[in-house]
């Protein structure tokens, strides 16, 4: 389990919307300008209500979906980062992230995400009003847990964040997280649907030994194309999966 001690917090009450943090993020790699890994979320009045950035999930879906292994996850710090040398810019990570924690840099054609500037976040340095802070999680006691709870529950339901991580995050965001949580819940609802779809796929495989059941129409078409007969090993697959379940129960 990751042992994160330092977190990035944002309190919109102190934010005047100057955008220096985003500018600092753009210049975080020195002269080379990059797509920012943080994004201001404004309310209807145009006031900054939240800041969107990677929440450093304990089980990063972006890491699982990445076809090139370009999302690195450090078990000790709990930080995930993009290895741009191997990223091919397919955007799977962007497509799966429920909180738009991964962005796509159109200049380099690669994924970018917040890696907390390896422990020295540039955005925090330029925030002279103190809206952005990089601080020890255990020092935070004033979290508005009601707002945060929404955010966390929406994310944990989708299985992105573990319960421990959710607790740590409840101290991470302060201020009006309502808008942010709404933004997240709509996305994580989709992620939950995706996980349901994954579970359904596995039960389809369990029942049919295949993702695409062989109907009589399909078999007829196969015959007309001169293709071989296919039998799906339904019973064997079911026995195998049952054996796996009992193995897990013994271990559990």
């Amino acid at each position: 389990m990751a042992t994160v001690k330092w977190v990035l917090t944002f309190d919109p009450r102190f934010c005047d919307g100057c955008g220096d943090c985003v500018e600092a993020c753009i210049k975080r790699l020195g002269d080379l300008r990059s797509t920012p890994a943080i994004k201001l979320v404004k309310d209807k009045q145009g006031k900054v209500a939240a800041l969107s950035f990677c929440l450093q999930c304990d089980q990063p879906f972006c890491k699982i979906i990445c076809p090139t292994g370009s999302i690195l996850f450090d078990e000790f710090s709990g930080l995930s980062s993009v290895r741009s040398e191997t990223c091919v810019g397919c955007r799977s990570c962007f497509l799966i992230c429920p909180i738009e924690g991964v962005m796509f840099d159109t200049i380099s054609g690669k994924a970018v995400k917040c890696d907390l500037c390896k422990g020295e976040p540039k955005c925090v340095k330029v925030c002279d009003r103190g809206a952005l802070k990089y601080t020890l999680a255990e020092d935070l006691t004033t979290a508005k847990e009601g707002h945060i709870a929404l955010l966390i529950s929406a994310s944990t339901k989708a299985g992105v964040l573990t319960a421990e991580r959710g607790l740590a995050l409840s101290t991470k965001f302060v201020g009006d997280a309502l808008l942010f949580s709404q933004m997240i819940s709509s996305k994580s609802e989709g992620l939950r649907k995706f996980l349901d779809y994954c579970a359904n796929n596995l039960s389809t495989i369990s029942n049919e030994a295949s993702l695409a059941a062989l109907s009589e129409t399909i078999l007829k078409r196969r015959r007309s194309l001169g293709l071989n007969e296919i039998r799906r090993p339904k019973e064997e697959v079911q026995t195998l999966l049952k054996s796996l379940t009992s193995l897990k129960e013994v271990k559990g």
Binding site: C90, L95, L202, I218, R221
Partner: protein, 292 residues
Amino acid sequence: MSDLHYTLFTGCFIPARLPYIEAATLKVFDRLGVKVTPLTEASCCPDPTSTVFADKMAWYALAARNLTLAEEQEREMLTICSGCNLTLNTVNVELKQDQRLKDIVNSVLSSVGRRYKGTIEVRSLLWLLYKKIGVEQLKKHVIRPLTGLRFAPHLGCHIIHDLEAYDNPSDPNSFNELIKAIGAEPIRYKTERLCCASFARFIDESRMINALDEKLTELDELDVDGLVTICPTCFLQYDAGQLEANLKINKNHNIPIFYYTQLLGLAMGFSAQEMGLAFHRVKADRLIQKMT
């Protein structure tokens, strides 16, 4: 080339949803002297995205079961689907390297009287055509080159891991060479590496449609004769998904999608009917006209 005999793993999507691609591929294999013995008792590979999210151990166990079928035949396993290749190749490599994982998987496999040994290799269609047979050899079979036709290559995500053995995954060239081998021109384009986004349907349909639309819009502007792929998921997504996108966001994309072996077959002299073009959702009439 007497060693071109493989155990063929067709997967789920190709045999059930795209059997015409299976038929076209087998015709091409036959002409190339590639002998294949299909597996009649294979399950889903299983799917390298959804199964991994649902239950990674089930993914290992089911894939290992499929690998034992090829081990019984004592031949290398040939996959014609990139997803199957990612699953079977990754699991095969991991099981060979990780004795502990292999022991756990074998204890599960023992329930069905099987044992994974780690005696075979898993090969991809791209590897077979580009690395094993080779471009020069392929060219010898081309009797009707697709000269003047321009195709947008879409390799897809799930084959990237396989490229490490014979190409540069960051800037691959093997697929372009295969397109050149049939006399056609592979074009380079900005959204070439953009994922087909089929998995994103359940997360955020609008993001999925946008990803489709972004690539198809660029291809419309480039006036290509089609998009060519070697992944059945990408094929379905761009073929049927294109019509869905057109309907949902009121667009008029009309880019025919091809599986590489279909184009290779056309260049070898097979007819459009033999290559199953009539079954495509986005009709390939323009290409057929240009070829006659």
